[in-house]
């Protein structure tokens, strides 16, 4: 039994890995290109734009308790329409005209994974 479980998990894992890694790599590239400049490559909110003048710290995606308060729809909405769409700082820009729906979905999954 346990061997069966391990084998299937392994097989499923491999299958996922094969499909997933190509996508995961793409979405890492999307995140690093558009979002890391403020949220940091590691999602900690320490991007290169965050200088002394930056009035509101970009969300630290690694703080799981904060991120858990947000629904998937909230997060997708704020990515597309910017901070003011959920009464947050306009320093979070609107990306709706720049990113595809698939990229926004991918980013949602990607930033959820930073949460500890």
């Amino acid at each position: 039994m346990s061997r069966f479980v391990i084998t299937t998990t392994l097989a499923a894992g491999l299958a996922l890995g094969a499909v997933g890694s190509a996508q995961a790599e793409d979405i890492k590239q999307v995140y690093d290109f558009y979002c890391a400049q403020c949220h940091g490559v590691n999602g900690d909110g320490k991007g290169v734009n965050v200088t002394a003048d930056f009035a509101t710290d970009p969300r630290n995606f690694t703080v799981g308790a904060e991120m858990a308060k947000r629904t998937d729809e909230d997060i997708k909405g704020v990515i597309k329409d910017g901070g003011p769409s959920i009464s947050k700082s306009p320093l979070m820009p609107p990306w709706g005209a720049t990113l595809s729906a698939a990229q926004v979905d991918g980013l949602l999954g990607y930033i959820r994974k930073f949460a500890k």
């Binding site: 590239q29 400049q37 403020c38 734009n49 003048d53 306009p90 709706g96 005209a97 720049t98």
Partner: protein, 217 residues
């Protein structure tokens, strides 16, 4: 026979020279030799993916004649101070300011060549540099322009570092180009880490912001 060949090729060369656009002799040749390894000058925009953008060693220059002010260009090519606070395409390494320098003569010839590269997307004389309260509010508060771009107030620098610095934009950038860029960014930069603001700001706001950026010292 040999004489004929020489005469024919000479004739052809003369013809080519006569029909070439009227930039100063040599600017395009200098560019091909010293600059084309990092900059492309044949539009429209070639980048389709993030990887295309990241593979570039320098900014595209196919609309340089619409974008830059000529006096700035001639001076900068001789003394190229950093424009982007960060190294091109990097969010971790600072710009070392190691751009190739040109002599005064080469810079003038190259600038003549670059100033001929224009985009029909840019309407001449549409935007006059002007400060306004709404534009200032957009730049510093409503839209995070200052979050990604350096700008100066009373000589003091503020703002983010991922975008090109806008300090001194009044001397460097053509106001009409700034407006065209904000209004139709995909024509110039199909792939870029600046958001498309044309669907968020109305044309009047875009024009005001462009006019405001065009005053930056």
């Amino acid at each position: 026979m040999r004489l004929l060949a020489v005469t024919v090729s000479l004739g052809a060369a003369l013809l080519v020279m006569a029909s070439a656009p009227s930039y100063a002799a040599g600017g395009d040749a200098i560019f091909k030799k010293s600059c084309a390894s990092c900059h492309y000058t044949d539009g429209p925009a070639k980048e389709k993916t993030i990887s295309d953008q990241l593979a570039k060693k320098g900014p595209e220059l196919w609309y340089a004649g619409s974008k830059f002010k000529k006096d700035w260009l001639v001076a900068w090519l001789q003394d190229p101070k950093p424009i982007r606070p960060m190294k091109y395409n990097s969010l971790t390494d600072p710009n070392k300011g190691d751009h190739p320098k040109q002599s005064a003569g080469d810079a003038a010839a190259t600038a003549d060549f670059l100033m001929c590269l224009t985009s029909p997307e840019v309407k001449a004389g549409a935007v006059k540099p002007a400060e306004s309260a709404p534009a200032k509010a957009i730049f510093t508060k409503k839209m995070p322009c200052g979050g990604c771009h350096e700008y100066a107030t009373k000589g003091e620098k503020h703002g983010g570092k991922s975008g090109p610095s806008l300090v001194g934009a009044s001397k460097r950038l053509n106001p009409d180009w700034i407006y065209a860029y904000l209004a139709n960014i995909k024509v110039f930069k199909p792939v870029r880490d600046m958001p498309d603001f044309a669907s968020v700001l109305n044309p009047k706001d875009l024009e005001n912001v462009a006019a405001y950026v065009a005053t930056f010292e």
